[in-house]
């Protein structure tokens, strides 16, 4: 189907030959090939690119993790030296948090929020594209440090003054601070964009309380990002000035207090934890009802507990600092606040369990990941309660017990949710079902590997093995069942199993891409709006924007409930619904035009960052690229013009592109 409609040219304007624009026409005509990806503003293409990039960084971060575990498998490990080990665990955490889970969430949010709220794209498509490119360039920039004298070596928390120029003389921390600054810009723009989309572009009839849970949780996350990113931005600027321009924000001799960094970092860092986990809560709140064949139990409770976590999450940051000498009053207050946040989290676990209760459960791979999340996250949540108890935390913090805790929360929680989402939404995104057979290998190896890796870390931590040690010594390992030697080895073996499990996912993707059959229109008998379109969706998402009357709109169009018997029967299938939508299709669909400027603007950012590290003139060049990008973007006409279109299209098709 032709997509582009040219506005009919007024008679007074002579025809302009398109050739006069050379290669720099607006890239409106590129529907295929690399240019259609490079300059796209389509939320679905950007979502896929976010996902692909995030999975690449997942592999990078995963290899770093395997190296860490190999080093620690035996006492006095020799796989890595101390310096390399410190870089490895710093970059493992940084990569997994900022370059895998956060962009993976962006991938799902970008792809599915417009579909779930019945919109044709996000509110600011070009900003969306800019966000992706800024994230990609920031991620590459962060990792370039490996090749330019060593990566950051201060831990992802980068406590001052250990991150200062005296204690970390390589450029690693500079690359880290500036790289995160760039990805932070990406997160901020994405947050604004998605918030506006959700608040303003919902389909008619979709009140906030009829919005799918994933969209709800992702929106809470965008608000968290909106307020958390500025804090880390400030902290990173202080760090940059301290390292590169001789500032003394954390210099004790100049009267500063190094705890300033910790407060800034954790005021960002704790909401960040919820930024990582809430979207996965949203994903499984979509998956569980579909495969239980009944609605989410207590939808308003799930939504409000999510929002409550979003609020209370701001009042608990100092529980990362119970050992840093805050004084008993602060410790007591933050300890109690941390316990309070366990309540809304517990509400969610109850609701998921009750959703399963009385259902008709189908154990697809997506469902298995979702159920595993409930159990594994509960383990992580409960170990969380044990260190919400501040005195007990002073024994546990900075030991492997904490490593076990947050990997149960983030691997068992966030990442299992992400995998559940991938298996669930893969047919929607690519039109093919991932293989369930390989998927089962994927799930079981990951579940076993994850428990073998992180389960023993509870023991290691309670036996007093601190984190971030490049070696452990036999002299402090003990004997008997709880000896560190045995459980370190188990954890390392587990990490290999886990890696193999993840490998099966990529095998599954390859096999599906090669041999997978076309997926049916509604493979899971799903419930929400994103399934009310083709697989993969058309560029304009919906032929006609649906009017929403129920929470599970799609389900309610397919099924009717007999009021007397309470029996539920199917009245029509997805095909009929789609056919009807196509019959009533909207006459004029306005789609945004692709643009060069987002990628140009994003390219300027790493150039500035390079310049700040190596030479200021380079930073000025980067600044000029950014300024050029901003103005080119601002001046770019909102609608692609006649001369941008080549060849001129017949003025009979449906979709008009606007900037």
């Amino acid at each position: 189907m032709a997509i582009i409609e040219r506005p009919s040219a007024p008679a007074t304007v002579p025809a302009i030959p398109s050739a006069s624009l050379g290669a720099l026409k607006r890239p409106v005509t590129t529907q295929h090939g690399w240019r259609s990806w490079l300059f796209t503003v389509d939320h679905k293409k950007l979502g896929i690119m976010y996902g692909a990039t995030a999975l690449f960084f997942f592999v990078v971060g995963g290899l770093e993790a395997v190296l860490i575990r190999l080093q620690l498998a035996l006492p006095d490990g020799r796989v890595l030296n101390a310096d390399l080990y410190n870089q490895m665990f710093t970059m493992h955490a940084t990569t997994m948090v900022f370059l895998f889970v956060m962009p993976m969430v962006s991938a799902f949010a970008n792809y599915f929020i417009p579909l779930q709220v019945g919109a044709r794209d996000v509110a600011f498509p070009r900003i969306n594209a800019f966000g992706f490119w800024a994230f990609l360039f920031g991620g590459i920039f962060l990792n370039l440090a490996w090749f330019l004298g060593g990566a950051a070596d201060g831990g992802w928390f980068m406590y001052a003054p250990n991150s200062g120029p005296v204690f970390s003389p390589s450029h690693g921390v500079d690359f880290w601070a500036l790289g995160l600054q760039i990805t932070g810009i990406a997160s901020l723009t994405g947050a604004v964009n998605l918030i506006v989309t959700v608040l303003n572009m919902r389909a008619p009839g979709m009140s906030l309380m009829k919005m799918p849970v994933f969209t709800w949780m992702a929106t809470v996350v965008q608000f968290l990002l909106l307020f958390a990113m500025p804090v880390i931005t400030v902290a990173l600027f202080l760090l940059m000035f301290q390292r590169n321009f001789g500032a003394t924000f954390f210099d004790v001799a100049a009267g500063a207090d190094p705890l300033l960094w910790q407060h800034l970092f954790w005021i960002f860092g704790h909401p960040e934890v919820y930024i990582l986990i809430l979207p996965s809560f949203g994903i499984i709140s979509e998956v569980l009802p579909v495969f239980s064949r009944k609605p989410l139990f207590g939808y308003p409770f799930v939504v409000f507990s999510g929002a409550a976590i979003g609020f209370v999450g701001w009042g608990v940051w100092a529980h990362h600092m119970f050992a840093s000498g805050l004084g008993p009053v602060s410790v007591a207050v933050f300890s109690v606040a941390t316990m309070a946040i366990a309540v809304p989290t517990g509400v969610k676990v109850v609701n998921w369990t009750m959703t399963l209760w009385g259902g008709k459960l189908q154990f697809t791979v997506a469902m298995k990941f979702a159920i595993a999340l409930i159990v594994l996250f509960t383990v992580g949540g409960l170990s969380g309660v044990t260190h919400a108890v501040a005195p007990s935390d002073t024994q546990q913090t900075d030991t492997y017990y904490i490593v076990a805790h947050f990997h149960y929360v983030l691997f068992g929680g966030a990442i299992f949710g992400i995998f559940s989402g991938m298996y669930y939404w893969w047919p929607k995104m690519f039109g093919k079902l991932l293989s369930e057979r390989i998927g089962n290998w994927n799930f079981w190896l990951m579940a076993i590997g994850m428990n073998l890796t992180f389960g023993p870390m509870h023991i290691l931590g309670l036996q007093g093995q601190p984190r971030r040690m490049y070696i452990w010594t036999e002299a402090r390992a003990g004997e008997g069942f709880f000896n560190l030697a045995f459980w370190n080895l188990v954890a390392s073996i587990g990490s290999i199993i886990l890696a193999v499990g993840v490998l099966f996912f990529f095998i599954n993707v390859l096999v599906t891409a090669r041999r997978g059959a076309q997926a049916p229109l509604d493979p899971w008998d799903a419930r929400s709006l994103e399934w009310m379109t083709s697989n993969p969706p058309k560029e304009h998402n919906f032929d006609s924007i649906p009017t929403v009357g129920h929470l599970d709109e799609f389900f309610h169009r397919k099924y009717a409930e007999d009021h007397q018997s309470g029996e539920i029967r199917k009245v029509q299938g997805a095909e009929e619904i789609l056919a009807e939508m196509e019959r009533n299709k909207d006459a004029h669909i306005h789609m945004p035009s692709p643009s060069y400027w987002p990628i140009v603007l994003a390219l300027g950012l790493p150039v500035i960052a390079f310049g700040l590290i190596y030479s200021i003139p380079v930073a000025i060049v980067g600044g000029l690229i950014v300024v050029l990008g901003c103005f080119g973007w601002a001046i770019e006409p909102s609608t692609a013009r006649d001369e941008d279109v080549d060849p001129p299209a017949a003025p009979s098709t449906e979709v008009v592109r606007h900037g």
Partner: protein
């Protein structure tokens, strides 16, 4: 190679096992014939750690029970409600009464835990009945302990030592912790929870040991390259033994009479004294030899080596001064004769010659310490940790002979 300390009591072992419910049964036999790691957090040996332990055991129990309930509920749902061809269930949207009940119950449990937590937090922060004060200063990658003058303990002159903290048993000791460079964290798990040592701040940390013995610890705030090697021990001595230890530390310096040790003193004056102080050491011209670590290392301090051989470890407690056999003898001593064995110090026969010589030969090779001279530009040429000194083998021979006299 193995740690040794009194076996855990049955209660402790049970506590540790609660974490791993299933394998627990299989281990009773195993755990019965072996000891846990020396930094076991479930094995308190003093009132502060005991307070924490009393609080955390019930919390772990409650958490374990809640976890089992959730797992059982999910497991039952998986088994009972799997798809066996039943009709599509009724599309219920939830039961608010159930929801609210299941919200209030955990809230109540947490409220109870919260009350006890707050009480323990304030109990642990009590300082007004302190009996003894020790200043603890962390730097990359070792701990310095200085004992301010406290006549009631016989400390008439400040004592400076490092690596091993020596305290009297049954005494409420206040550690006033700070740091000279980056943030470190002082943690002797069997005596109390950890507390960060932050430059520019003094953090108070109270410890008290019930029995004589040696208690292992480890720096737990990431502090750079050799974070993993920044260990420490707390040594508890009976009150009499502690008085003897103080007298030993305050004893005047005795220059070796002659021979290899005397030559070693000359090497020391020539090389080591740039950073390392030995109280009472005099130069050939009779002037006191004052170390100037502030001119040579970033942190501005290096371990004071007076009475080095009264300690069991060196290089930030990374290496033992004792041979493995002698070490085991001290670590595994019963509380009754621990004191006399510790106070005996390091004899020539027990000296761990391999590590000490290796250290003198090339310290940065034994412990990662940013020794690369190319990285010293940002520090104005100052070292972090001990540099490579290019000592000859005969110098090392003399130095070892001299060091072994420092007790």
């Amino acid at each position: 190679m193995t740690s040794a300390r009194p076996r855990p009591t049955a209660v402790n072992r049970l506590g540790s096992m609660r974490r791993r419910v299933l394998p627990a049964l299989a281990l009773v036999a195993l755990a019965g014939c072996a000891s846990n790691a020396p930094q076991d957090t479930w094995d308190p040996a003093g009132p502060n750690a005991q307070m924490i332990d009393d609080l955390q055991r019930p919390v772990f129990a409650v958490a374990g029970i809640v976890g089992l309930i959730v797992a059982a509920a999910v497991g039952w749902a998986i088994f009972r409600f799997r798809d066996r061809g039943q009709a599509i269930p009724k599309q219920t949207h939830g039961k608010p009464v159930l929801e609210i009940t299941l919200t209030i119950i955990p809230a109540l449990i947490l409220a109870v835990i919260g009350v006890f937590t707050v009480r323990t937090v304030f109990d642990l922060s009590k300082t007004d009945d302190t009996e003894m004060v020790i200043n603890v200063t962390g730097q990359q990658w070792w701990w310095e302990y200085d004992y301010p003058v406290q006549e009631e303990f016989g400390i008439t002159q400040p004592i400076i030592t490092s690596g091993q903290l020596v305290i009297p048993v049954g005494t409420k000791v206040m550690l006033r912790q700070t740091s000279r460079d980056v943030i470190h964290s002082y943690w002797i798990p069997r005596l109390n929870g950890k507390r960060d040592a932050v430059p520019g701040r003094v953090h108070l940390n109270r410890i008290e040991a019930d029995e004589p013995g040696i208690y292992a610890g480890q720096c737990t705030e990431f502090c750079g390259l050799s974070h993993a090697n920044m260990r420490m021990e707390a040594v508890a001595l009976s009150k009499e033994d502690f008085a003897a230890w103080v007298a030993q530390q305050l004893a005047p310096y005795e220059s070796p009479a002659d021979g290899l040790a005397k030559e070693g003193e000359a090497v020391f004056l020539n090389q080591c004294v740039r950073c390392h102080q030995v109280n009472g050491l005099e130069r050939a011209d009779g002037s006191p030899a004052i170390a100037a670590p502030d001119e040579n290392v970033v942190s501005g301090a290096a371990p004071n080596l007076s009475k080095l051989m009264s300690r069991n470890t060196f290089a930030g407690a990374m290496f033992d001064l004792l041979t493995p056999a002698c070490r085991r003898d001290v670590w595994e001593a019963s509380p009754a004769d621990f004191g006399s064995k510790y106070l005996a110090g390091v004899s020539e026969d027990c000296l761990n010659q391999t590590d000490l010589r290796g250290w003198l030969r090339n310290a940065p090779e034994m412990k990662p310490m940013y020794a690369n001279p190319a990285l010293l530009a940002g520090t104005g040429g100052k070292y972090r940790g001990m540099p490579y000194l290019a000592l000859t083998e005969s110098d090392i021979e003399k130095l070892v002979a001299y060091l072994v006299t420092l007790k």
